[in-house]
Symmetry: C2
Subunit: 986 residues, 2 copies
C-alpha cells in the first residue's frame, strides 16, 4: 500500500474529499492535465447537470475520528479507489495518478471541515494550513482544492469566508442557511452570490463566490442508492423495469432545481455521510442513470455527467453572469420555524474552553521552538508537535469544538488534545533551556494544568518555587496571577527580587465541588500582579512560604459571611465595596446581583439545538436558573430585589476584592474588582461556576447570565466573528430579508468567540469578553445575555442520538467555570482599544512554568522591540527545514475603530526577532499553499464592478517591492499577511 | 462481463453460494485442482477453526427476487469477485478460474435453499436438478457442491434429507433445531450426527452426515463487521487499539463453541443475510483477525483459516470419528419456550395451493412435450418452459411457498408462476396437436384457471364444447368432474358418445364472495364422473346445452334450505342423507357438523409463527372460529350440539349429495358424498371456504377444522414428509429428548404435505388427504386438527416486518377454499392403498382442456401399458437434445404398508412409452448431476457400522446389469431412480 495509516486517513477523511469519476475516459475531459483542464466539457445548448460524487466523513460525531476510520472510512477509500481505477481501462495505477488526471479531487482540503461559529481564527488558519500542506506535499498543485466545501456547518461566518477568500479559493458551497432566507433566495434566484466578506480587506480580495446547495449536501431524494433507494432496473425482462420512471424522476427533479439557479449548470451532490463504503453500488447505478438520461436528452434538453464542485464552479464562472452581493453573515441558522441552531454556540462549554487554552499553548510552543531554533537539532524535535497539531486540526471539526458530537467522541477529542499537549511540553522545556542556556532550571519545569480547579500538585509539594510567566502577546502585558497554594503566607518577589503585594484567598465553594480535587492540599489561591511581562517574552517571579508577619508577606483574606435578614441593604452588593481605589471611567459602575426565584413569567424559553422535529420544540427547554446583574454608570436606584436563597460572602484585600454569591448548590459566582495595578486596560472579572446542573427527566436547563444596563442600545449589539471582525446585530432583524421571528431568545442568539458589546449614541459602551466561545445576544435593550452551560433532556432527532448531559469523573453532571471580563467605557476609541487588546490578551494568556531551581535569566523578550500596539504575530512556525519559518502578522483593528490604531501600520521584519534575522520573505496566500504573486483566482461580475482596482494594483505592487527590497510589510486593518521567511540564527 | 444477468444472478443468488478466499494463495492449499484438493491443509496438533465466508441471499423475503438482485445481490457478486481476484496476485481472471481453484465454491446448489416443511418432493427434486445442472453446465465438476446447506429453513425434514443423501451430498448443515434438542445435543456433543433418513432406502444410501451450526448461520456475535461491529484496530498508535481484546474475544468464543463439538475442527460461518455487499470490509477485517489470532497460536493452540463447508466436512471426516445416528426428523421447530414455528405450515394457504397445482401442470407439460417429441422441432419450444421452470425453482424458497415473505413478494411469486404457466401453455396445445395430428382442435384449446372460483369464461361463451381430460398418473384414474357452467341443463357424453349421468348445482355462497367472479355468467357447476382416464393419457367428453327433459340431460339440484328451530334433529346432518348407495367400509361413517359458538374455555391458543420475541407470545393469537366435525364408524350417538348461528342447506342428486353449512359470513362449508362410480378408492370431500377473516387490531385468527373421531389413537398420529415417507407422531413427545412441552397445540403441530391419519390397534383408521401443504396434528385422541387459513395482528419481530394479512383484489381479506378428502378404513392395507393412490391422484389431478372443435382422437395413453399400481413416473423431461430424456420412476409405498404393494417391483423401460422406445439408460444420482456408478460419497462411522453391506453391493451390481442388459429397473419401497435415457421416436 503506497500510504500509511495516517496518510491514507488524511487523504480522504480529513480532506473531505470530493471524487470525480469521468465515465467517458479522457475523451470527455479537455486535456490530460489536472485542475480545470481536467473538467468535462460543457455541452452547449443543453442544461448541464453535474453529478458530484462525494463522501461526507465527519472526523468525529457519533464515533470518534479513529473509530470512523476503522468502521467506515477505510472502506470508502478502498472501494472508491477501486472504482476509479476500474474506469475506464481497469488498470492498476496509483492514487496519485487519479489525482493527476482529475478523477480524484479534493474540496476545501482543510484538516477538517471546521465549524464556523465556535472556532477561533488562529485555529481556522492553522487547520487549513495543515490540510492544504498535506495535499501539496503529497500531490503537488494537482491536489490543490479550488473550491471550499462547508456543506455541513450550522451557519456561516463572514470572517471565516473572508479567510477562505484570502486562502485563494474560487468558490464556497454550503448546505444550511435560514429557511426564510433560502425561500427568498430560491424565489429570486439568488442561491448563488458574491459574498463580500470583509469591507476592511475589500473587494475582490475578500470576495468569494458562494453557493447554497439546493437542500443540503446529500443526494436528491430517491437517488440514495447506497441507502437502499430504488435502483435503476434496466433489464426490460424485469418485473420491476423502471428506467423510464427513473429518468422522469430525475428530469423532474432537475427541472425543479434549475428554477432557483441562474446558470445553465446544476450541481447535484451525489453522496452523503460516510457514503461510498460500497462505491460500486453507487457508481454502477449512477452509470446507468447517466446513460439513460443522456440517451433521452433530446426529449428534455438535459445532459448529465460526473463532475466536481470545482468543475461546476468553472462552468458557471465561464458564463460570465452578473451576481448579487452579500456583506452580512448567515447566523443564526434555523431550518424551520422555532428551530434555531444556537444552543451549540455554548454546548460543551468545558471542551470549548479547553480548545481555546490548548490553542494558546500550541501557538506559544511553536513560537518558542522557533525562537530557540530547536529544529536545528533535527526534525524529531519538531515531530513532538505532531500529535497536538493533528489534535487541534481534528477538534476544529463542525462536530468537534461545536459540541454537537456524542459524549464518547467529546472525550476522545479532549484526550487527543491532552496527549498532544503532554507530548509537546518537552519542546517548551527544551526551548527555554536552549534560549537561556539553563537546562538545569528548565528540564524540571512543569505546568499546573488543574489550576482552573485551584489545584496544583507542584505547589502542594513545594514551599518555595519560581514561576516563569511567558507572554505570547506581541506587546508587554500586565497579568493578574492566581496560583493554587497550600498555605496562607508567602513572599512573592519579582524579577528584580523585590517583594510584591500579594494576597491569599481560600478556595471557593464553586471549585470545591469538583471531584478531581480529591487529595489536593491546595486550599488557597495566591494572587498578585505581574507587571509587566515583555512582549513575546518572560519574567521569573519567586514564591517562598513565610511566617505570618514576615516582611512583604501575603495578606490572608478569609471569605467573610455577610449577614442578611430579609434582603441586603441597598448597595450591599455594590462591586466597589471590595476596593478602595477610584477607577477611572468605570468608577460609577454599579453591579447588584439579584436572585430571582423562578416565577412563571420569568421563565425564558429556549429552542433547543436542533429541536425542530418535535411538535412542540420549546416544550421542555425551560431555563430554570437565571442570574441577573444590574449595573449602569451613575445610577444607584435599586431594581426589584429578592434575596431569598442567595448567600453572600466577601473577600477584601490589597490585590482584589471579591463578592461571592451562592445562588444554589450548583451555581456559584465570584465578582472580582482588582486594585489598580497601573495597567491602562483594566476590567472586572465575573467568575460563574455552574454545575452539576440538576437533572430531571423533563427539564432541560440552559443556564445564562444576563447583564442588565440602562444603555439605550436601540435593539442593537455587536458580536465578533471567530475573534476578529465585529458584526452589528439588531434584534429581530436580518439585513437581507424581512424576518418573521419565531423565537424571541434563540432567534436572537449569535456566536460570541471573544467579545460582545453594547454602544449608546453618546459613545458609552459596555463589553463582555469571554474566555471561550459562547452563545448570546441582547434580548432587551441595555441587556447582554450569555449562555454558560446547558443540559438537554433528550436528543433532538437530528442525528447525534444522545441528549447533551455531560458528566464529570464522579458521574455527576459536569461543572463548568466561566469567567467574563467586564468593562464599561465612555468613548468608542477607548472602548475599542480596551476590547481589542484585552481580547488579544484573553486568548494569548501567559503560560506559567513552575520551577524548583532558580533560573539564571529572570526576564527576556523574543522580540527586539515590541510590535506596534495594533500588530500581533499570529504564527511563528517551522516550515520545511530549520532556517525556514512560516510567519503571519495581523492588524488587530477594523477600519474606524480607533483614530490611530485603525491606521495601516508598517513593520520591518529583518531584525524583528531576538534570536534570528530574517533574510528574505515571500508572501503566501493565507493558508500558505500558494505564492501570493502567482496565485490566481476566478473573478466574478457584480453590479459594482469586479476585478482589482487600479489603486489596489498599484498598492500591491508597492508592497511587493517593500517586501522584496526592505523585508518590510504594511498591514492594513484586519489584514493577516502570511510569509515564508528565510532566517539566520544569531 | 462474462455472464448475462440471469446467469450472474443464478450464480450467486439462486445457488446460495459459499465463498472461499484462501488468503495464503495456492501454497496453503493442497493442490491446484478443485474439490477437496483445493482445501486448506489442517494444522496437526492445533484446533482448526474454519472461517467460512458466505452470503445468505433469499430469493425473496422482504423484497422480491429481482429487487434483491438489483438492490443488493449484484453488489455482492461484484465486490466478492473483486476481493477474490484481489488475492493473492490481484490479477484479473475470470470467475471460472476462481471456481476452478477452489476460491469460489457453492454449497447446496439448488435453484434456491428450499423450505423443508411445505415443499412437495417432486418440486424438491426439480429445483435441485435445475440448480445443479446450471452449475454443472457452467463450471463442470469443479462447480459441484459437495455439501448441502439448509441453514435457514425452520425445521428439517427426514424425506428432504434422504433425498439430499441420494443426490450425492457428503454433508448437510442446518441452523435451526428445537432449543431443548439443541441444549441436550450441546451438552452431549451430539451437534453433529449421521442422519439415517430413510429406513426404506437404508444405510448408507439415505444416510447423511448432518451438523447443527452453533447458533445459526450468521457470524458469531461481535464479529459482524459489515453490520458495524467493532473492527480490529491494529495500529498501536490508536486510542482504540484492540487487537489483544479482539483476539481474546475470538479465542473465548472458539473455546466456548468447541465444547459442543467433538472433532478438532470448528466451522465459523462468517456471513449473514445479504452480506458481502462490501466484501472489502469483511475480508479486510477478517484478514487482520486471522493474522492476529494465528500470530498468538502458541498461547491458545488455535489456528484459523478461511475455509468452506465442504473443506470443513472433509477435515472432520478424515478424523474417522464415531458418530451417533438419528432417524426421526426436526419438526416442529421452537427457538424458545412457547415459540413454535408451526404457523407457516399453513401461512398463505392460497399460494401453497397455487404452487401445488402449478407443479402438477409443470410436470404434465414436461411429460406431454416429451411424449410428443416437441424438442425435435428445435430448442425454442423447450425454451417456453424456462419461465415456469425458474418460477417453480424460486417459489420453493424457504421464504416462498413457506409463506413467510412479505405480501409484495408473495404477489411476485404468484405472478412469476402465472406468467410461467401462460407461456408454457402453448406447449400443451402443440403436444396434443402433434400427438393426435389434430391441430385444428388443439390450437384453440384453453384452460379455465378460475374454475376454483366456479368461473370459466370459456363455458360462459360456449353452449357446446369438448373437454379433454389428461391424467398425469401412471395408472388409469376415476375423476369427479366439476365444470362451471352458465346453464342448468346439459347432456354430457363420454368418449364413446354415450350420455353419462350429470348434475348441475348452483354456485355456492362461499364462492360467490370472491370479487374475481364479477361479470361471470357461470352460475352453476356441472358434475359428473369421468371413468376412467387412461394412464398418462386422455379421454374427450362432450358437453352440450340441452332443453330440460331431453334424454340424458343433467339433473338440476337446487340448494334447499333446511328448516331449523333451535337445533337440527339428531342425525340431521348425517352426510349419508345426500346419497342412496351403500358405501362399503365407509357406510357407517357419520359426520355431524356442529357449530360451537366461541366460549372462553373453548378458545385455543396458538403461538404465532416466529412469535417468540414478545413477552407474551400467545397473547393476541386466540383462535376465534372453530368448526368441529364429529364422525366415527358405527357410532351415531350425538355429542353436545349447538345449532345457533349455523344455517343448513342441502343438495341431493344422482352424482353427489351435498350439505352446505353457513357458519358465518366468512365461513362456508360443503360436505360432499359421491354416488358410487365404480372406483374402489372412494372418499368424501369436505370443502371449507374461509375468508375474508374479520380483522380487528387485537385479534389474530387462525382458523382450523377439527375432525373428531372415537378412534383410540393413543396420542399417536401420522403425517407425511414432503408427500412421501410417513412419520409417526406422538403427542407431547419427541423421540430423541425428554420434551418439556410449552404449547399444547402449536407444540404438537406438524407439516402435512398430503396426508394425515389416525390408526387404531384393530386396524381401523381415519385419513385426511389435503390439497396443499397445511399444518396440523392430533391435539386429543381420536382427533385430527388442521389449520386452514390465518391472519396475524402484528409482525413477529423476526424479520419480515409485516403482519400476515393477505388481501384479495377487492382489498378485503383473502378468501381461501380448501378441500379435504376424507376416508375411513377398517384395515391398514386397505387404508394404505387408498391413501397412497389418492394422494398420488390429488397431486396429479387431471388437466382439463376446453375445446370448441371436436377432436379426432377421443382417448389415448402415453404408456403402452399402465405402470404397476405401486410405480409412478416422477419425471419425464427433455435433457440435452431431442433424443435424450430425463426419466425418474418412484415406488409409491413404504415397507410394510401393504402386503403386495410394498414389495419391490420391476419395470422394463424399453417399450414403456407409446411414442418412443428407450434404447439405453444410464442411472444418475437423484438430482441428475452425477453418474450413479461413479459418484462417491464420504462414509462415516456409526455404532452399527457403516459402509455398503455385501448384500447391498451384490444387489446393486445385479441391478446395474439389469439396466445395462435389459433396460429394466427394479424399484424398492420409497425408491426414486433417475435415468438419462436415449430414445428413438416411433
Amino acid at each position: 500500500s503506497p500510504f500509511c495509516y495516517w496518510e491514507m486517513r488524511n487523504l480522504l477523511l480529513a480532506a473531505v474529499a470530493t471524487l470525480l469519476l469521468c465515465s467517458c475516459s479522457a475523451a470527455q475531459r479537455e486535456a490530460t492535465s489536472c485542475g480545470y483542464n481536467a473538467c468535462p466539457k460543457p455541452v452547449p445548448g443543453r442544461y448541464n447537470v453535474h453529478l458530484v460524487p462525494h463522501t461526507h466523513d465527519d472526523v468525529g460525531w457519533l464515533r470518534t475520528v479513529d473509530q470512523y476510520y476503522y468502521y467506515e472510512v477505510q472502506f470508502i477509500i478502498d472501494t472508491v479507489i477501486e472504482e476509479l481505477l476500474d474506469n475506464p481501462e481497469r488498470k492498476f495505477t496509483y492514487v496519485k495518478q487519479l489525482v493527476k488526471n482529475g478523477q480524484l479531487q479534493f474540496a476545501l482540503g482543510g484538516w477538517c471541515m471546521d465549524d464556523e461559529a465556535t472556532t477561533h481564527y488562529v485555529d481556522i488558519i492553522d487547520q487549513h494550513t495543515q490540510g492544504l500542506r498535506f495535499l501539496n506535499d503529497t500531490f503537488g498543485d494537482c491536489g490543490r482544492p479550488r473550491v471550499a466545501w462547508q456543506v455541513d456547518p450550522f451557519g456561516h461566518s463572514k470572517e471565516h469566508t473572508a479567510m477562505l477568500a484570502q486562502m485563494g479559493f474560487d468558490g464556497l458551497y454550503y448546505g444550511r442557511i435560514d429557511y426564510q432566507d433560502q425561500a427568498l433566495r430560491r424565489k429570486t434566484r439568488r442561491m448563488e452570490m458574491v459574498w463580500q466578506a470583509s469591507q476592511d480587506i475589500g473587494s475582490p480580495r475578500a470576495d468569494l463566490f458562494s453557493g447554497k446547495l439546493y437542500d443540503g449536501y446529500c443526494q436528491p431524494g430517491g437517488f440514495g442508492f447506497e441507502y437502499g433507494d430504488e435502483p435503476v432496473q434496466d433489464d426490460p425482462q424485469l418485473y420491476d423495469y423502471n428506467v423510464e420512471q427513473k429518468v422522469k424522476q430525475f428530469v423532474d427533479m432537475v427541472n425543479s432545481r434549475r428554477q432557483v439557479y441562474s446558470s445553465d449548470h446544476l450541481m447535484l451532490t451525489m453522496g452523503c455521510d460516510f457514503q461510498y463504503q460500497n462505491a460500486r453500488k453507487n457508481f454502477k447505478i449512477y452509470d446507468k442513470l447517466i446513460k439513460a438520461v443522456n440517451a433521452r436528452t433530446a426529449a428534455h434538453n438535459i445532459t448529465v455527467y460526473y463532475s466536481t464542485p470545482s468543475c461546476y464552479t468553472k462552468s458557471v464562472h465561464d458564463q460570465n453572469l452578473m451576481w448579487t452581493v452579500k456583506s452580512d453573515d448567515f447566523f443564526p441558522y434555523a431550518h424551520q420555524a422555532h428551530a434555531f441552531w444556537t444552543g451549540y454556540f455554548t454546548s460543551r462549554a468545558a471542551l470549548k474552553r479547553y480548545v481555546r487554552t490548548a490553542s494558546n499553548q500550541f501557538q506559544a510552543i511553536k513560537q518558542t521552538s522557533c525562537l530557540a531554533g530547536l529544529q536545528r537539532a533535527g526534525p524529531q524535535l519538531e515531530a513532538k508537535l505532531d500529535l497536538l497539531r493533528q489534535a487541534m486540526g481534528v477538534v476544529q471539526h463542525h462536530d468537534g469544538v461545536s459540541g454537537t458530537e456524542k459524549q464518547v467522541v467529546a472525550y476522545d477529542y479532549a484526550l487527543r488534545v491532552s496527549t498532544g499537549i503532554n507530548q509537546a511540553y518537552s519542546l517548551l522545556q527544551s526551548a527555554w533551556a536552549n534560549l537561556t542556556g539553563d537546562s538545569a532550571a528548565y528540564s524540571g519545569m512543569s505546568s499546573c494544568s488543574l489550576a482552573n480547579i485551584s489545584y496544583c500538585p507542584f505547589t502542594d509539594s513545594n514551599n518555595n518555587f519560581y514561576l516563569h510567566f511567558y507572554n505570547p502577546v506581541s506587546h508587554p502585558v500586565w497579568h493578574l496571577a492566581r496560583i493554587p497554594v497550600k498555605g496562607r503566607y508567602y513572599v512573592v518577589s519579582n524579577q528584580q527580587g523585590q517583594a510584591v503585594t500579594s494576597q491569599t484567598i481560600p478556595v471557593n465553594n464553586g471549585t470545591l465541588r469538583v471531584p478531581e480535587r480529591a487529595g489536593a492540599k491546595s486550599s488557597y489561591e495566591l494572587v498578585f500582579n505581574v507587571s509587566t511581562i515583555p512582549a513575546m517574552g518572560f519574567v521569573v517571579y519567586r514564591v517562598a512560604a513565610a511566617a505570618p508577619g514576615s516582611p512583604g508577606v501575603s495578606t490572608f483574606t478569609p471569605i467573610q459571611s455577610v449577614f442578611m435578614d430579609s434582603k441586603p441593604a441597598d448597595g450591599e452588593l455594590d462591586w466597589r465595596d471590595g476596593g478602595s481605589e477610584s477607577l477611572n471611567e468605570r468608577e460609577s459602575l454599579d453591579y447588584r446581583p439579584v436572585f430571582a426565584p423562578l416565577k412563571r413569567d420569568d421563565v425564558i424559553e429556549f429552542s433547543q439545538l436542533k429541536e425542530a422535529k418535535k411538535s412542540n420544540p420549546i416544550g421542555d427547554s425551560k431555563m430554570s436558573y437565571m442570574a441577573y446583574y444590574y449595573g449602569y454608570p451613575g445610577n444607584n436606584s435599586a431594581p426589584e430585589f429578592t434575596a431569598s436563597g442567595a448567600y453572600l460572602f466577601r473577600v477584601t484585600g490589597p490585590v482584589v476584592n471579591e463578592t461571592h454569591v451562592v445562588w444554589s448548590n450548583w451555581t456559584y459566582q465570584v465578582l472580582r474588582k482588582f486594585a489598580n495595578n497601573g495597567d491602562s486596560l483594566q476590567y472586572s472579572e465575573n467568575e460563574l461556576t455552574v454545575g452539576p446542573i440538576p437533572y430531571d427527566a423533563n427539564t432541560g436547563r440552559e443556564v445564562i447570565v444576563r447583564y442588565n444596563t440602562q444603555l439605550n442600545s436601540s435593539a442593537t449589539f455587536y458580536t465578533d466573528a471567530n475573534g476578529r471582525q465585529v458584526l452589528r446585530r439588531v434584534r429581530d432583524y436580518r439585513p437581507t430579508w424581512p424576518l418573521q421571528q419565531t423565537e424571541n431568545v434563540s432567534g436572537n442568539y449569535y456566536p460570541i468567540n471573544s467579545q460582545i458589546f453594547l454602544n449608546q449614541s453618546d459613545g458609552s459602551s459596555f463589553m463582555v469578553l469571554t474566555d471561550r466561545s459562547e452563545g448570546g445576544g441582547s434580548i432587551n435593550d441595555g441587556q447582554i445575555e450569555i449562555m454558560l452551560h446547558r443540559i438537554t433532556v433528550r436528543d433532538d432527532a437530528l442525528g447525534v442520538g444522545e441528549a447533551l448531559q455531560e458528566k464529570g469523573s464522579d458521574g455527576r453532571g459536569l461543572v463548568v467555570k466561566v469567567t467574563h471580563w467586564l468593562a464599561a467605557d465612555q468613548s468608542l476609541p477607548s472602548s475599542s482599544r480596551r476590547r481589542r487588546e484585552l481580547a488579544n490578551r484573553r486568548y494569548r494568556e501567559p503560560l506559567i512554568g513552575y520551577l524548583t531551581a532558580e533560573p539564571k535569566v529572570k526576564s527576556w523578550s523574543g522580540l527586539r522591540r515590541p510590535l506596534p500596539e495594533n500588530v500581533q504575530v499570529v504564527t511563528l512556525d517551522d516550515w520545511r527545514g530549520p532556517n525556514t519559518k512560516l510567519l503571519r502578522l495581523e492588524h488587530l483593528y477594523q477600519i474606524g475603530e480607533h483614530p490611530a490604531l485603525s491606521q495601516p501600520v508598517t513593520v520591518a521584519l529583518g531584525q524583528l526577532f531576538a534570536t534570528f534575522n530574517i533574510l528574505s520573505a515571500t508572501e503566501l496566500t493565507l493558508a500558505a499553499n500558494q505564492n501570493l504573486n502567482s496565485a490566481q483566482r476566478l473573478q466574478w461580475r457584480t453590479p459594482a464592478g469586479g476585478g482589482t482596482t487600479v489603486g489596489d494594483a498599484a498598492r500591491e505592487a508597492e508592497e511587493r517591492l517593500q517586501l522584496e527590497q526592505d523585508i518590510t510589510v504594511t498591514l492594513r486593518p484586519m489584514q493577516i499577511r502570511t510569509f515564508v521567511v528565510q532566517v539566520q540564527y544569531l
